[in-house]
Symmetry: C2
Amino acid sequence: MRSVYFDNSATTMMDSRVLEAMMPFFREQYGNPSSLHFLGDGAAIAIRDSRRTISKALNCLPTEVYFTSSGTESDNIALQGAALAYGKPGDRIITTSIEHSAILATADRLRELGFDIHILPVDREGFVDPEELERSINHRTVLVSVMAANNVVGSMQDVPYLAAICQEKGVLFHTDAVQGFTKMDLDMQKMGIDMLSISGHKFHGPKGIGALYVRNGVKLKPLFYGGGQEGNLRPATENVPGIVGMGKAVELAMEGREEDIRRMTSIRDHIIDGAMQMDGIALNGPRERRLCNNVHLRFPGISGKDVVFALSDMGLATSTASACTAESVEPSHVLTAMGIPPEEALSVLRVSLSRFSTMDEADYFLDSFSQVLKGLREGK
Amino acid sequence: MRSVYFDNSATTMMDSRVLEAMMPFFREQYGNPSSLHFLGDGAAIAIRDSRRTISKALNCLPTEVYFTSSGTESDNIALQGAALAYGKPGDRIITTSIEHSAILATADRLRELGFDIHILPVDREGFVDPEELERSINHRTVLVSVMAANNVVGSMQDVPYLAAICQEKGVLFHTDAVQGFTKMDLDMQKMGIDMLSISGHKFHGPKGIGALYVRNGVKLKPLFYGGGQEGNLRPATENVPGIVGMGKAVELAMEGREEDIRRMTSIRDHIIDGAMQMDGIALNGPRERRLCNNVHLRFPGISGKDVVFALSDMGLATSTASACTAESVEPSHVLTAMGIPPEEALSVLRVSLSRFSTMDEADYFLDSFSQVLKGLREGK
């Protein structure tokens, strides 16, 4: 049976060249980077090279890149780390209603610690209003965190503008760029971003590795303590193969970036246009300022889970809202925040592309999706 | 040139069968375990299987095993998690003077938060006095953390006895078993251990993956927040290849365990006996109740770093105290805690074996070490 992977916002297939780059570090250059002998040196150099590659992609200094185990951990270091280093109970932290749970659950924890958590609403298309952000910043605000691109509906915020507002107000700005990195412009020199989270497995790198950009001069409180690795911000023996793999994945993603974005955009639009011609289908999220690899459809009256299962039986990997909430019977908080009625928010499907996706796969999806909808409607 | 890896307490070479077990999860079964489609299922099953393997090795329930990114993270979840869930400022937490920095630096952080951190001394051989532990437990004590086996000098504490004392006093007991796991008996049914940390890369598994055993009923506060993975104790998209690899590494380690321990012990003793015949050499740590793979030598008047560098030039990978402190010019806190004068504590060498080590490698080490000492003494 044909197999089409359209769930790239959940995770991606590792690039074969990433695996190739990692291989020597499993059983040859396997030393602890802190070791003084010949096997330590190679590992330490490999980490330095990966850090440099990632810093080039972000246009920042290598010393501003910290390796973590995941996007979730990066988000937590940014939020908890900044709140505890720069704030105290009663101080305000601002974020949005459509963040990943790594941000929202962390904000809940900070609320428990006494912080004043302010959640910005979004409009029907999933955008934050910059003026609303500006108004919500009071003199006790220490941190604003707004995700660069949404994982469910693909809305890309105007990060440079939001960051500039925060910079002007003297407030730290963090962005969760787990979905946005490699798919939108993120330039640390040009934008007033103080912290930015990325995750290796979202762009054909390994799972279990992420990074956090932290602007020089910003001193965060670590989440955990140990040996002095990663400038004491994130100790533990380094995941050398993971770090090397993520570095290679960044290199590959940046190489063909513009062409990849163009191609994904045209496949995305082909799917959206095809789906819009079917009966009873609506698009969630915006047409403009939308992630090049995101399609999110709504079909009231039919269960999104049933569609995912039926497509899976036809070899198509898709999801409803996000992988992290896939098991949940609750509607996605992102969709309800956008004003979609809860009962409709379970009748949705997310299709997320990668640079390996093809127009032919898109056509296979459209045919299968149309059949599945017909079947489920008739089956009632 | 010959290459001998005798730095297995810093990290180990991944077993080829571990890599083999991981391979399908990089580019074939690469789905997000939370996904509902065909690629999610395989990943979720692989995680379940690895959890089961590890629970068998610890003789606990699969639901008592939580995956983390490292031993350092496991230690931090145990200490911070128990302190914040069960304690409040002023409450006592007891640990020892020879713990890994993942414990001691975390204890420092908890002291900063107002906890009463009580550090137990050790004797000249690196052992904690159980009576001293018992006396130090007051009515405000919430947690005791004593490492199972020391990473520098290999002293193996009487964990069952220490755990029993804590159980009787109604105090949580954690052990950092990062070095001890697979090399000593650790049975969660028979021993009153509430939490136990392990790290994949210390027993021929991958870097970037660890686990924490948490006894059913013990509810820890997480370090970070996000999707509901790992029972909400440790969220983030699971590092599937890492989890699979660690599971395989545990399976392999447990298979030949007794024979491996016997063989490492005889190689260890061969090295100790050989070294003791050289001039001006002393053994740090005990002869009995010593990790089967640890040798730690002292040679006053000669720099340990110089010995490591010279041995490295001869293809021998060793270390001074521990990898995490390798760059440090300070003597190891473990050695000074044992009463070794600071100036002698820099004149040390750690040799750490693995199940792949051979008697022939031991002889090569002894010859090389003897030459290096001679050279350094004459070079003065």
